[in-house]
Symmetry: C2
Subunit: 510 residues, 2 copies
């Protein structure tokens, strides 16, 4: 006990205390509480620092440097609790502060305090979503939350089905899987050999997971037909109809259209009503990949951009993107109830016993592709309780307002060219920064090849200084441009100003 107390007060005497003194060890309560409290103190410091603009977003090290900075290897012998705490501090030292107000690198940014608390509770509860028996509250909360999300999609009474899956790519794969099963249920037993050649349609700006899913499901990437987009990145419905007819003429069976609500790069919303009309006409499953744009359903001001989503057969919506829920939290919503169950169930009798003493409709695990499934719902549910729908709305409206602020600030500014014209529909603002040396150049190949290198160099410098992070990429015939996205509730107008200043500071000599 003496050793113990000195550990609590941080004296060195107990630096050698081993993890085996923690619970479930006999009398391990105090050591455990002290250790976990020490970890929490480290985390609280990190969390508070994450929001401090005077700290770096990233303390960047190249992979080989980072491997040498610390001994990360796994050994036969245990470490002391003091060493474990040092491991935690070191890990956080090199981590990206994804909650930092100037972190704009991905669609998922920000760190929500209630979400974090909920994730901590989820870890302490450490259970699995397959049966009500072992996750009673979480199974009910999944039911309540998915129903609410379906209501917001516009399905009467929130009817339908759904699941929280490990990310948008898997949610989209579920949609493809279920669409195929709906049309040809025999595929489950007989495989693709027994059914006609299927084709799916999605826009050329859609997320790569549609192709990835087609490859995995044995459909093949060649059977994903990419529909042309307009200059804003929206699918052109007439091209969709043309390609459907073309496929049918070749004897292929169109089974899925995956429309996108909020494309990854442009933030474009496909015209869902026109697409729904076409899907109806040709009896094709309509999926809406709203992984990024689904959050706008929370906003009375912006939800019109998803008009027509209520006609979809399935919808992907990732609260871990625009709604700022900690990773991972992705929902797949399905209009027809029971289809997921028929498609995926295997009746494992060791898990889904039919003679249990409670209502078996709450044992939802057999409709999943996974067996064990992490509890992803609680953080969304608790955040929703904390903010209310109106709180999410305010948060999302603010991010969109910031994107408009950025757009207005740079659209006519010297040294900027917009990748597409007009106000952004989502928070994606795509632009080239043109360094002074390129501004008076003719628009020829040399300029292109120099411009191509600008964004990568600025980005590399940003990371080395650690001041901010924003993404870039080429797209089609367009060379590397910045894609700014704002999903971080911590960001303000001043952070947008800072980003512009920083791009100019780091790029003026290029």
């Amino acid at each position: 006990m003496f050793a113990l107390f000195s550990f609590v007060t941080g004296k060195t005497l107990c630096g050698r205390l081993l993890p085996q003194y923690l619970l479930p060890a006999c009398n391990g309560e105090i050591t455990t509480m002290s250790f976990l409290q020490d970890v929490v103190d480290i985390l609280l410091q990190y969390v508070v620092r994450s929001f401090d603009r005077s700290t770096k977003v990233i303390d960047f090290h190249y992979p080989n440097e980072l491997l040498q900075e610390y001994n990360w290897e796994l050994a036969d012998q245990p470490q002391t609790l003091e060493e474990i705490l040092l491991n935690c501090r070191t890990t956080l030292k090199y981590a990206i502060k994804t909650g930092h107000p100037r972190y704009f690198n991905q669609l998922s940014t920000g760190l929500d305090m209630v979400g974090l608390a909920a994730d901590w509770l989820t870890s302490a509860a450490n259970t699995n979503m397959f049966t009500y028996e072992i996750a009673p509250v979480f199974v009910l909360l999944e039911y309540v939350t998915l129903r609410k999300m379906r209501e917001m999609v516009g399905w009467p009474g929130g009817c339908g089905d759904g699941i929280f899956s490990p990310g948008g790519a898997i949610s989209n794969m579920y949609a493809m899987l279920i669409a195929r099963f709906k049309m040809f249920p025999e595929v489950k037993e007989k495989g693709m050999a027994a059914i006609p050649r299927l084709v799916a349609f999605t826009s050329e700006h859609s997320h790569f997971s549609v192709k990835k899913g087609a490859a995995a499901l044995g459909i093949g990437t060649d059977s994903v037909i990419l529909i042309r987009c307009d200059e804003r990145g929206k699918m052109i419905p007439s091209d969709l109809e043309r390609r459907i007819l073309e496929a049918k003429q070749k004897g292929f069976v169109p089974f899925l259209v995956s429309a996108t609500a909020g494309t990854t790069v442009y933030g474009a919303f496909d015209p869902l009503i026109a697409i729904a009309d076409i899907c109806k006409k040709y009896k094709i499953w309509m999926h809406v990949d709203g992984a990024w744009g689904g959050g706008l359903l929370m906003s009375r001001k912006h939800k019109w951009k998803l008009n027509g989503v209520e006609r979809a057969n399935s919808v992907t919506w990732n609260p871990h993107k625009m709604m700022g829920v900690p990773l991972q939290c992705s929902a797949l919503l399905v209009r027809e109830e029971g289809l997921m169950q028929s498609c995926n169930q295997m009746h494992a009798s060791y898990l889904f016993q039919q003679d249990k003493h409670y209502d078996l409709s709450y044992d939802t695990g057999d409709k999943a592709l996974q067996c064990g499934r992490h509890v992803d719902v609680f953080k969304l549910w608790l955040m929703w309780r904390a903010k209310g729908t109106t709180g999410f709305e305010a948060q999302i409206d603010k991010c969109l307002e910031l994107a408009e602020y950025l757009y207005n600030k740079i659209k006519n500014r010297d040294g900027y060219e917009m990748v597409f014209d007009g106000k952004p529909q989502h928070t994606n603002v795509c632009f080239w920064y043109i360094p002074p040396s390129l501004r008076s150049m003719e628009d020829n190949e040399e300029r292109m090849s120099r411009l191509m290198k600008v964004a990568p160099v600025i980005k590399a410098r940003m990371m080395e200084y650690g001041t901010t992070m924003v993404s870039y990429q080429p797209l089609g015939d367009k060379v590397n441009f910045f894609r700014m996205v704002i999903s971080n509730p911590a960001a303000t107008h001043q952070d947008i100003d800072f980003l512009i200043d920083e791009i100019e500071r780091l790029g003026q000599d290029l």
Copy 2:
């Protein structure tokens, strides 16, 4: 500030403090730290209580009761921080204490304190595994940890490939996907239509995810051929060879054998060396589903049960099962490097830019089926540092010793029948409890139909009393029996004794 301090000290004055005062709100530091500390206090209490044998494992309520006990609905308006704390307390009140020393219900039990701390850190870091850019430390730790796991599988120098996936079912699906791609790489673009009819082989005792994967990948469940097992649940190699020849005669192409190291119900280990010989002879991908049994590789005493695993092409190994890592933590290990990448990559240029300033081999996201991917490695890595390999070994050896203790205790005890003879190979102990009223009955249909109902009733009573939880199921022509599994490091001989007493107490009148 006045309101704030009273919130900290729990006075009612601040019960109305709203979540919007938390960070990133201006001057939100103190409110945030107080709130998170309050949550942590609730969690620490829960954690300590979890290990207290005088508390219930479960406070069971039927679904309709639980829906009525509390208002779980989502609303437009925000709740106060005090209400958020109440939500947390209520959720935990009805949660299953999966760390409780008498919780034996699933293959994943126990609550590791270092694992919990690591999961809390993972939540605070809130990032995504797709690129080094945004998860530098975690990407390196995945590299270090997977290499170490491959070493333990027995691949020279730990060479090969792998990924942490969202659970064993997905890991097994990956194996099937990669095996198919290895044999017919054109399937990625052309789909199953372009390749011959494939068949996979697995034992009749294998996990249902093999069939689930085949259904999803467009192979079809009919193409999964179930190989007969001996009375201990091990695949019979001669039957495997017979069925392979049979399939080839029909013109099908055998592409995968999924052997099981630790079956779900019996805990059986398939004879991997004999299976490896057959796979080699017929040039078939050998997968070992060691989701449950893989942990035994940590034990010098027990790892012989997986002899031959080093000859596999791929291995599933779930540290969240036998090693007690918090959910989810499942690894898929692949012997051939680069195959996962070729199989799954889609070259999304917005994520995997080729002109970054660091070594791109650390951008591992394109080999995954997922796009975003949760950080599952850190908890395993930190636990490994804390325990050392020897610590995991001791923990696993102890669980196996407890299973043997249970087996020895009941094998000749009045009122028990073992489902299969002989010492358990894993921690699965399968048995019937025969209530006194059935003990002198002839072994006829009436006895069977009464025995079938015994385990479900005892289990229902266990849950209602909340004293312990253990699983049961039928299997083939065997009516409901108990499947005891021990992966919980908190369990002791006394807890095994308690379980037996409890079964007898709850079942004696049946």
